[in-house]
């Protein structure tokens, strides 16, 4: 499993990096989406891989042993990251629309150079 997830993170990162180097704003937005998937998976992996052990404890104090559950801390971090990445995507999209309206191009520098 570890090797599969590591490769998945690698592929998502590589595709995302390629896209954020592109000159068109839409490509950059998609690239950031892919990168955020990669980073979120990476953070989750920092809690190591556990199946069938969601961090939902019982009310009995004896059940509150970290060994029984997947690490909740990275999950809490990723949860906020998901929502924030939505907000930044929205902001980026609007900025790019505004810049496109002002400059007449969707090039990231606001002027058409090479593709």
């Amino acid at each position: 499993m570890e090797i599969v997830l590591a490769l998945a993170i690698g592929i998502l990162t590589a595709s995302g990096l390629w896209l954020i180097f592109r000159p068109r704003t839409f490509q950059v937005i998609l690239g950031l989406s892919l990168l955020s998937y990669a980073v979120n998976l990476f953070i989750l992996a920092a809690g190591r891989l556990r199946s069938d052990a969601p961090p939902i404890v019982g009310r009995d104090p004896a059940s509150a042993d970290p060994a029984f559950y997947a690490d909740p801390l990275p999950q809490a971090l990723v949860l906020t990251a998901i929502v924030i990445s939505f907000a930044t995507t929205a902001l980026l999209l609007v900025v790019l629309l505004a810049s496109r309206g002002l400059t007449g191009t969707d090039h990231v520098d606001g002027e058409d150079g090479e593709t």
């Binding site: 995302g16 920092a46 190591r48 949860l79 505004a98 090479e114």
Partner: protein, 975 residues
Amino acid sequence: MDDTRLLLLVLILPFAGSAIAAFLPQRGRDVAASLTGFNALAGAIMIASLYPVVSAGKVARFAIPWIPALDLNLTLRLDGFTWLFAMLVLVIGALVSFYARYYMSPTDPVPRFFAFLQAFMGAMLGIVLSGNLIQIAFFWELTGLFSFLLIGYWHHNQSARDGARMALIVTGAGGVCLLVGLMLLGRAAGSYDVDAVLAARAAIQSDPTYLPALVLILIGAFTKSAQVPFHFWLPHAMAAPTPVSAYLHSATLVKAGIFLLILLWPVLAGTESWFLIVTSVGLATLLVGAWSAIFQQDLKGMLAYSTISHLGLITLLLGLGSPLGAVAAIFHTVNHATFKASLFMAVGIIDRETGTRDLRLLSGLARFMPITATLAMVAAAAMAGVPLLNGFLSKEMFLAEALQAHSGTVIDVALPYLATLASMFSVLYSVRFIHQTFFGPAPSGLPHEPREAPPWIRLPIEILVLACLLVGVLPALTIGPFLATAVGSVLGEHAPEYSLVVWHGFTMPLLMSFVALLGGMALYILFRAKLNAAERPPFIGRLKGRRTFEAVLAAIVRAARALLRWSATKRLQVQLRLVIVAALVVGTLPFLRYGYSRGPAPDTLIDPIFALLWILGGACAVAAAGLAKFHRLVALVLIGGAGLATCISFIWLSAPDLALTQLLVEIVTLVLLLLGLRWLPQRLPDVWPVGNKPVTVGFRRGGDFVIALLGGAGMAALAYAMMTRPLPDTLSRYFVEQAYPGGGGTNVVNVILVDFRGFDTLGEITVLAIVALTVFTLLRRFRPAPESVQMPAQQHRQNAFDDAREGHERGDTLVHYLLVPRAIIQWLFPVILMFAIYLLMRGHDLPGGGFAGGITASIAILLLYIANGTRAVEAALHIEPVRWISAGLLCAGGTGLAAWAFGYPFLTSHSRYLTIPWIGDIPLATALIFDIGVFAVVVGTTVLILIAIAHQSIRAPRAKTPIDGPPATPTGEPA
């Protein structure tokens, strides 16, 4: 009364008064002036009431701890010396505000003037009363800021703006040096507390950072106190209104440097470097200032250079490092403040009544304004050091000190002669001022006919001149005890014997004084005509401080631009490449050093389905990367595929909360990007025709490809190395163990978000709210590119179809558009909303929570928009997302604040279960109320963003291109 809380009150009063004065109307000048005078007087009375404490040799202290571990507290202290200085600041402040009330023209924005003046007074008191080095630097910068505002008060005047800017830059640059110097000093002393520092003389002087700290602190003090070579800003600051000059350049701003030198004198002075630097700078300033003052034709310019010269004198005295020198320095600081403040005020009156300050135009004013003339003459005589006035006493002390041997260097030999020479210059310009302004024939060609000033405006000068006289005649009875207290607090057991009497017998200093007096008068008689013809001071007149300053500024700007040109690029692609390559290099370095290895933990068994999932997900990602340029919609769908794979991985890896949120966010993001597609340009034809592509483009793309591959490989390798190592014991243990007993919830992730790390979440939803408002604001002024304003091709086809058919109006085709989904969504809407509330309620115990619930609710609204069109929805439903956002923030923040009401820290939560028949246990923690706030913010944010983008399509376009047919395009349909 010795309540040290008075110190805080003294410090707060001027700032509070400033805030009030700032909002007074134009006609509130009397109120503003009285407020300023009252605050200054009240402060003076409070400080005076603390005199019994300091005269007993104790230090009054008041502290509010802030970060005690870092030695950062609000500490106020008052000892004998700072008592004297605070009284000076407050009493002269009161007199200046009284003077300014009558001086300022009613047409100026006077309340603003008093607001600045009080704030400045507060900042100055802050320096004086500070018991902490960092705090001193803070108030130091505040004085710089408010003096900038005061000097530039007549901001319509170019020279005022220039003078203010120059003062700000010079003293501000000095302030930065001072901050660093004080931090070094604090480190050497082991504490930033002033009293601790003052007790650590040996530790400081033996510390290797003593010299750098000394130099930096001295630069700070010298820039503020206008010492050579930083003195040039002071004459330019004379563009300020005269009351400002009277205050800033007598008792306050320029004395801040002197104050600091005296305050730190016990720990910094006495070394060879101190002696050499401070003495030579002081001596140079004394001579340069006095020499330049002789040749000034502007009265305020003359006073400015005379101030520089007197500041140099005080610095010189401090540099000598002898206790008697320090006594003379403290005494002269007080004397100079009194006579210089009164002189500035007198010059202000002359300027006001005659309309000019040019010495060459003025003449014979004594017969027109006899009282002002008498006052100015007494004050100028004090400045020249005439016996029976206060200036004489401290100048005697100075001359006596100049005769003592201090270091055995050439300075010792030359000092008596140079001191006499400087005194002679001082007499010369004082005599020139008195004789030329007040004696001789009646002036001709003045802008106004001169007349005596009204009595009220003279009152502050009369008080100050009376002080000069009283101190001059009866020093031991007036200033004596206070000076002794001040000296005692600075010098401690080293306080020397000194006598404050007018007559010491025929001594060497007396002889030097008389040589200076007679010599100065003789020089005036010999050279008066030549002085009036002088354009600028001979010898040093060529050293234009201002020109140098401007040249330095220009050079800095040029260098910065050159550096920017050399090192920076405006191209985002280049920047991103650099950032990623730098990250790659930094990330690789540790592996080069320590080698790469997988950890000891065994791999978990590979599930073929999981592998298949990521074969598909990876393919989606790669395909999306390849197609994003020419096939945006396809790329968007493929990205969704990769997102789905991520989402399933979250479930697989025991993160149901994440999977839920990811899935919902995925939907919203998709709709968002689809809405955005409408405004993007048509697919571009390839800029490079086939076979005509420059080689560099291929190189660049190849380079990008390699960087991307390396980055991906690096992340994969890093992730693998991390995952194969066992998990160390982290904070998670605490969260898991305390989630139920401490947080009252069983869903640990949710408890972390709304309880343990609730403050982070509060910050996060604030960010969301800010983003939403930014998006909203950006889109209000949105101007789409002209070609996007055209109707989409699909709508043309629809219209053509409608036109071609009998009995069809345009838009009829759309009536039945999405009819079945519309009906379904209509019915589903309440169900989805209920599901959202369910997710919110159960969040504390089971996967769900405010984020997931909020996005679900906004998806319900979104579906309604998609199915029915923007106009139809908004005719029936009023959603005010901004209200949702503000209500949510208030709710979440209020929950946190409510904890205060019960005496707990911010955001402490309380939890219990409520059992409702039929439904069961409801977790009822205060965290739930917090989560409701999160829910509301998320709903408001998502809906606001999406609606703002959706609305662009139904807005009346602003572009000039005429539009064919109705502009309305119900959102969602073309996409």
